[in-house]
């Protein structure tokens, strides 16, 4: 039981970070970023290249992941999303664009990094073992702590910095924020870059444990969608709650249901559907976010 809880915390902290980036972008621009999983994969590959191949210290490699993804996100927002949002009659066009970008990033990953599964050497060796009740490798604990730390940093940044305040204003009401003197175009770009950066950060963290490959992008996006739906779209606390809940459900499901085959996700989905039928906006979302 303790093992399941520990696994749940570990999975939940990572999932929460993935969901945070997605929900941030959604709150700011009302864009459902299909390419979020692909950004996560790119982040993983950047860390792999710098840490695994060039021998740069892990923290620096992680920083490179963040920077490159932030730049990528900013460029995508500036040259693709912003003009399309301005030019289209329906807001659904952005969804189409996001799907196109997901395909593009998949193609780029395939061309640049190849389709092989990549892994990096462990950061620290050894396994934490508490009386055979909780067994967890040290590097997983480290990654888990780092993930929780970055979530706390992100929340503090959103709460207390000027940029964070502007972003929150933008998420609440675009027009009102503009009237209060927030540079909407600029902060949309910053917000998108920040969301992409979070995806890159998780990718960089997780490459040390699960490795990275091309096919991980799509399923990651799907999981992120589920978390966002559980917690409520566009709400930061909701994304964290959704991530932790999905992490625990998966950990429990894999432990309890393993003898019945791979039906954990079917059960999670059915319960999600019933939950959404009762509470369509998720745990903490605004109605029809």
């Amino acid at each position: 039981m303790e093992q399941i809880l520990a696994n749940g915390v570990y999975l939940g902290s990572q999932y929460a970070m993935i969901a945070l980036g997605l929900t941030l972008i959604f709150a700011l621009m009302n864009v459902l970023n299909f390419a979020h999983g692909q950004m996560y994969v790119i982040g993983g590959f950047v860390t792999y290249t710098f840490y695994g191949q060039l021998g740069v210290p892990f923290v620096l490699a992680l920083l490179m992941s963040c920077i490159s993804l932030a730049i990528l996100g900013a460029l995508i927002e500036k040259f693709l999303f912003a003009p399309v949002i301005k030019g289209s009659k329906r807001e659904e066009s952005t969804m189409l664009l996001a799907a196109g970008i997901a395909f593009l990033l998949d193609a780029l990953i395939l061309l640049i990094f190849g389709e092989k599964q990549r892994g990096v050497p462990k950061i620290i060796d050894g396994v934490f073992n508490w009386d055979f009740r909780v067994i967890m490798p040290y590097d997983r604990i480290l990654i888990c702590v780092l993930a929780i730390l970055s979530i706390i940093c992100f929340i503090c940044f959103m709460q207390y910095s000027k940029t964070g305040r502007a972003l929150r204003a933008l998420a609440q009401d675009r027009t009102a924020a503009q009237l209060m003197g927030v540079n909407v175009d600029r902060y949309s770009m910053i917000g998108f870059a920040l969301g992409a950066m979070l995806a890159g950060l998780v990718g960089g963290l997780l490459v040390t444990i699960t490795g990275i490959n091309l096919g991980m992008g799509g399923p990651t996006s799907i999981k992120a969608f589920m978390m966002v739906m559980i917690g409520g779209a566009g709400v930061i606390s909701g994304a964290i709650a959704g991530g932790i809940i999905l992490g625990f459900m998966e950990a429990i499901g894999l432990a309890v249901l393993s003898q019945y085959g791979d039906i954990t996700y079917l059960l999670i989905f059915v319960s999600l559907m019933i939950f959404l039928a009762i509470r369509p906006q998720g745990l903490m979302g605004k109605p029809w976010g």
């Binding site: 959604f26 009302n30 459902l32 299909f34 693709l80 003009p83 399309v84 030019g87 289209s88 009659k89 329906r90 659904e92 066009s93 969804m95 189409l96 664009l97 799907a99 196109g100 970008i101 997901a102 395909f103 593009l104 998949d106 193609a107 780029l108 395939l110 061309l111 799509g218 399923p219 799907i222 969608f225 589920m226 966002v228 739906m229 779209a233 085959g261 791979d262 039906i263 996700y265 079917l266 989905f269 999600l272 559907m273 019933i274 959404l276 039928a277 369509p280 906006q281 029809w288 976010g289």
Partner: protein
């Protein structure tokens, strides 16, 4: 229905002529037999895309059509292989089964709107794929292969449909079958859009609360529409499985669901024949780029992004402007 002009009639005639007579003639003249498979796929994908378009007609973005196509493909394959039933009975059965599943799922999720509905349908696709991997009846990752070709049908001793297995040219037969199905689907869609139900759907697309307040039974209509949409998905998937003679959990994936949505958006959501055009352009574009090898995906996605960037309202918005808007 009464306002069909001579010009529209002419266009429909031209369209039917070109797909049933001109295309086979051109293909036999040029010898590009592989185009049959491409065009058959286009016709079948267009059927599934028509379903997605219909759900958009009530203001829902459906990215779950791949799930229903997969369900349809499996139902048909299981009925034919394990039940020994004729394909022509399993085809509507697949559609109806997909529709029943859609009714149950729809009752729960159709209350959701906008991105919420889009997200849950996308998750549905993934879940159906995973379920197909896990269940014993679907044979897991191995899938169901070597499905027999559709057998002949005869009524009171009079053959109506020939046995596909004895035919010299199954590609042509499948092409005709797929085209007939596609024409029927779009005729039904056109009829539906121009019926009372279509008007009610349009009112829901614009404002559900308002429609509800003037007495439209929105809960009923959205389930009916979702069921019809999934019926199309099931039919398309079942036919696809029969042509490929195999079904795997990976036959229809998340990417396919997204593609169905892209077909609709690209063709233009305001037009009944939009999804058909979108499917043709996207699938043919993908096929033509095959010679680029590993750059296929890159070029394809760049073109796709460029189209959305510069024509955010769909391909058909180029041609007609506001004239043919429904």
């Amino acid at each position: 229905m009464e306002n069909i002009t001579k010009r529209q009639l002419f266009n429909v005639g031209l369209f039917l002529f070109s797909i049933f007579i001109a295309v086979p003639l051109i293909i036999s003249a040029t010898g590009r037999w592989d185009f049959y498979f491409t065009l058959t796929s286009v016709a079948l994908l267009a059927i599934a895309s028509a379903g997605v378009w219909l759900t958009f007609y009530i203001g829902r973005i459906n990215i779950g059509q791949g799930a229903f196509a997969l369900i349809g493909a499996y139902v048909s394959a299981i009925l034919v292989v394990k039940g020994g039933i004729s394909f022509w009975i399993s085809l509507p059965a697949a559609g109806i089964f997909a529709a029943i599943v859609a009714i149950f799922i729809g009752m729960l999720v159709l209350r959701l709107r906008g991105v919420y509905f889009a997200m849950i349908t996308l998750v549905l696709t993934q879940v159906v794929t995973l379920t197909a991997l896990a269940l014993p009846i679907t044979n897991g990752a191995k899938g169901i292969s070597s499905i027999p070709l559709p057998s002949g049908v005869s009524l009171f001793g009079i053959p109506i449909l020939p046995d596909f297995a004895t035919m010299a040219n199954t590609k042509l037969a499948f092409y005709y079958t797929a085209c007939i199905l596609m024409v029927l689907t779009y005729a039904a869609l056109y009829r539906l859009v121009n019926s009372r139900l279509g008007h009610l759907c349009r009112s829901m697309q614009q404002n559900e609360e308002l429609a509800s307040s003037i007495g439209v039974n929105i809960a009923h209509i959205r389930i009916v529409i979702f069921a019809i949409s999934s019926f199309f998905g099931g039919i398309g998937g079942a036919m696809f499985g029969s042509i490929a003679q195999s079904v795997y959990p990976s036959s229809f994936q998340v990417a396919d669901s997204v593609n169905f949505m892209l077909n609709c958006f690209l063709g233009g959501l305001g037009y009944v024949f939009g999804p058909m055009l979108g499917t043709l352009v996207l699938y043919f574009g993908w096929d033509l780029l095959f010679e680029l090898g590993k750059y296929q995906m890159l070029v394809y996605s760049i073109i796709l992004i460029a189209v959305i960037r510069f024509l955010p309202n769909g391909l058909l918005s180029l041609q007609f402007g506001k004239g043919a808007r429904k």
